[in-house]
């Protein structure tokens, strides 16, 4: 016999859930009491939102091991919500375990009672209110299976606090028992690919004049990086990515043109827009990627591969939709294309040259000297030069995120973690903590904004307390930069609510938490600072950015990613309202 709290922790140990980010409270103190008896590492975050982001990023790095967030009932649980929604939107595996008020008072507005299962139903892959304490190991194993298999996502377990001291017979079921008796409606493995559709897709691609491969985050989850590059090399076709797909392919591959979308690279937008056949892999066709669905679809055929059947045709109706594992399907398509072409092509398709010619013109304009101080694109070039290939970069949300997407080159798959779907400010810093716990041997840098960093910066204390070495590069322009930019470009220059007056001195703030801080004033000083992070040091870099340097290029919201819609200078936005 053992207590439920021990059973939960033992079950976590058995399924490999050994790292937890959380905050205790009255509804989970019975759980915390037992932690010293188990091989479970618990990190005290300074706000539950940070705990959820850390757990999310941990899962993004580990892929098959979700991070875990602990929170108490009521406000503890509701503080997790933004982090859970972030993980859900980016299909990241995580498990949230919340304490709940005792069953004896449940539903009666007890102190710190919130129906967190009800609250999180639309933003979790699944959630459970534990009703039978003897089933705790079943819940833990089911949560892990659901979180990491098929399309990954967050799972929440809500456990009434009067259960912690209930004694149960510990029994850990097998995966088969879980799938048969506990979650029989769940299919962990994707269906085998429809070979007829694979053949159709291969024929379309082989016969296309300007095929383009659009890589989404699903390529990372599926581990399909090499298969995508192999197919691109057979076709000699360009690869462009979504924001989430940026982490899935190396930017230094000659066929990779970078990410497309609202702030996409001109060459990527050009190629994607002018493609006659698009092979979209593991992407939900976000409006931020293509701009306008109807306009984008004109004159092109779409092949859409996704593990989630409900994504096929959701935003864009494809000519061929294939449900299944991206890695297997892309491999099969590659084999068929190779047969049709009787070998790989030797020369790059003309669309690549055209895209690069357009980009050359665009970049000449975009990289002109403008504004005061150190330029974002030059700073990010230094970051890339100084960090090793396997270093992990996280980002917050805002202007800095778009600068990083444009100018920071991912050289190794899985090393770029950003909040793409929900666009959660405050994500970057706790995500960096989660990433570092998941991969302690790698340097981790959070590229953040002043507004974004402030939202979760209380977690600076975590670095010092647990000796977690993470760097933060704060783009400090004293404003909510993208808000200011949108107001300037599309809302009659009426700046309201974007001015971050009375910002703290980030260097002193870091030092007050026991973390070193610097404010570089030259590119050389910036390089030295980044080098310290590359060498594994915790360091906060307060990078002063001219707020008048807008993030360009930009496609106005609602407009398709056509070259004529790409704004290279603020003057080109004149007269546009959104």
């Amino acid at each position: 016999m053992m207590y439920v709290a021990d059973a939960l922790l033992k079950a976590m140990e058995e399924v490999g859930l050994k790292d937890v980010f959380g905050i205790p409270g009255s509804a989970n103190l019975g759980l915390y009491e037992k932690i010293p008896d188990h091989d479970v590492n618990v990190i005290l975050m300074r706000h539950e939102q940070g705990a959820a982001h850390a757990a999310d990023a941990y899962g993004r790095v580990k892929r098959k091991v979700p991070g875990v967030a602990f929170a108490t009932s009521g406000p503890g649980a509701t503080n997790l919500v933004t982090g859970i929604a972030t993980a859900y939107m980016d299909s990241a595996p995580m498990i949230a375990i919340t304490g709940q008020v005792p069953t004896t008072v449940m539903g009666r507005d007890a102190f710190q009672e919130t129906d967190v299962v009800g609250v999180t139903m639309p933003i979790t892959k699944h959630n459970f209110l534990v009703r039978k304490p003897e089933q705790i190991p079943w819940f833990v194993k089911a949560a892990k299976i659901i979180a990491v298999t098929h399309r990954p996502g967050p799972v929440l377990l809500d456990i009434p606090r009067n259960f912690w001291n209930v004694e149960i017979e510990y029994y850990m079921p097998s995966d088969e028992e879980i799938l048969k008796a506990f979650i029989p409606g769940y299919t962990p493995n994707p269906p085998p690919p429809d070979m007829q559709k694979v053949a159709m897709a291969a024929k379309l691609l082989a016969e296309a004049e300007s095929p383009v491969i659009l890589v989404g985050g699903g390529v990372w989850w599926s581990g399909a990086t090499q298969e995508v590059l192999n197919l691109a090399e057979i076709l000699m076709a360009p690869v462009v990515t979504t924001l989430m797909g940026k982490t899935a392919v190396p930017a230094d591959h000659p066929l990779v043109l970078g990410h497309a979308g609202m702030h996409g690279r001109p060459e990527a937008n050009y190629a994607l827009y002018h493609a006659d056949v698009v092979l979209a892999v593991g992407t939900r066709f976000s409006d931020r990627t293509v701009g306008n669905f109807e306009e984008f679809k004109k004159g092109k055929k779409i092949i859409h591969i996704d593990i989630d059947a409900s994504e096929i045709g959701k935003n864009i109706e494809p000519e061929v939709g294939i449900v299944g594992d991206a890695k297997e399907i892309v491999r099969l398509i590659g084999e068929r294309v190779l047969e049709i072409l009787k070998g790989p092509r030797k020369d790059e398709l003309p669309i690549i040259k055209k895209a690069k010619e357009f980009a050359e013109y665009a970049w000449n304009e975009l990289l002109k000297e403008r504004g005061r101080g150190l330029k974002p694109w030059k700073v990010l070039k230094i970051v890339r030069e100084e960090l090793p290939k396997h270093a992990i970069v996280t980002t917050g949300v805002g202007g800095h995120q778009m600068w990083a997407a444009l100018h920071y080159k991912v050289l190794e798959a899985g090393t770029y973690i950003t909040s793409g779907g929900l666009g959660t400010m405050g994500f970057g810093f706790p995500a960096a903590i989660g990433a570092k716990v998941a991969a302690p041997e790698r340097p981790v840098l959070d590229i953040d904004g002043d507004g974004s960093f402030l939202m979760t910066s209380q977690n600076l204390a975590v670095l010092t307390q647990y000796n977690i070495n993470v760097g933060v590069l704060i783009f400090d322009n004293g404003s909510l930069q993208l808000i200011r930019q949108w107001q300037d470009l599309f809302f009659g220059k009426r700046r309201v609510g974007e001015n971050l007056a009375y910002l703290p001195d980030f260097v002193k703030m870091a030092e007050s938490f026991g973390v070193a801080g610097v404010r570089p004033e030259s590119y050389e000083e910036m390089r030295e600072a980044i080098r310290r992070i590359a060498n594994g040091e915790s360091l906060i870099i307060d990078y002063i950015v001219d707020p008048d340097i807008m993030v360009m290029p930009m496609v106005p919201p609602g407009k398709v990613i056509a070259p004529e819609n790409i704004i290279l200078t603020p003057e080109q936005a004149k007269g546009i309202r959104v």
């Binding site: 459970f128 979650i183 029989p184 409900s310």
Partner: protein, 94 residues
């Protein structure tokens, strides 16, 4: 607009939590779908709750809704059938 009436049948596994959570989860999906919800009946069938829904909408949207419901962890089975308007007391309004 080719709006028609459809009956969606959903079988929800109820052995772990009684099936109410699965039902509410399904409702969360349906309420955001581009269909009009008309009526619903739920029957207790022991280890499952059998749900019958009537919605109207375009076939493409209804089929997408079915796929969204199908992927819920507690849903065992989903089926959809068009209801001929002449046999329904619900009139489709476009």
């Amino acid at each position: 607009m080719n709006v028609k009436l459809y009956q969606i049948k959903v079988s929800i596994y109820a052995a772990v939590d009684g099936g109410l959570d699965g039902l509410v989860r399904s409702m969360h999906v349906i309420r955001k779908a581009p269909v009009i919800f008309h009526e619903m009946a739920v029957v207790d069938a022991g280890v499952t709750k059998e749900v019958s829904l009537t919605v109207s909408g375009e076939e493409r949207d209804v089929r997408w809704l079915v796929k969204k419901i199908e992927k819920l962890v507690d849903v065992l089975e989903v089926s959809v059938n068009e209801i001929p308007e002449e046999v329904s007391r619900i009139k489709v309004v476009v």
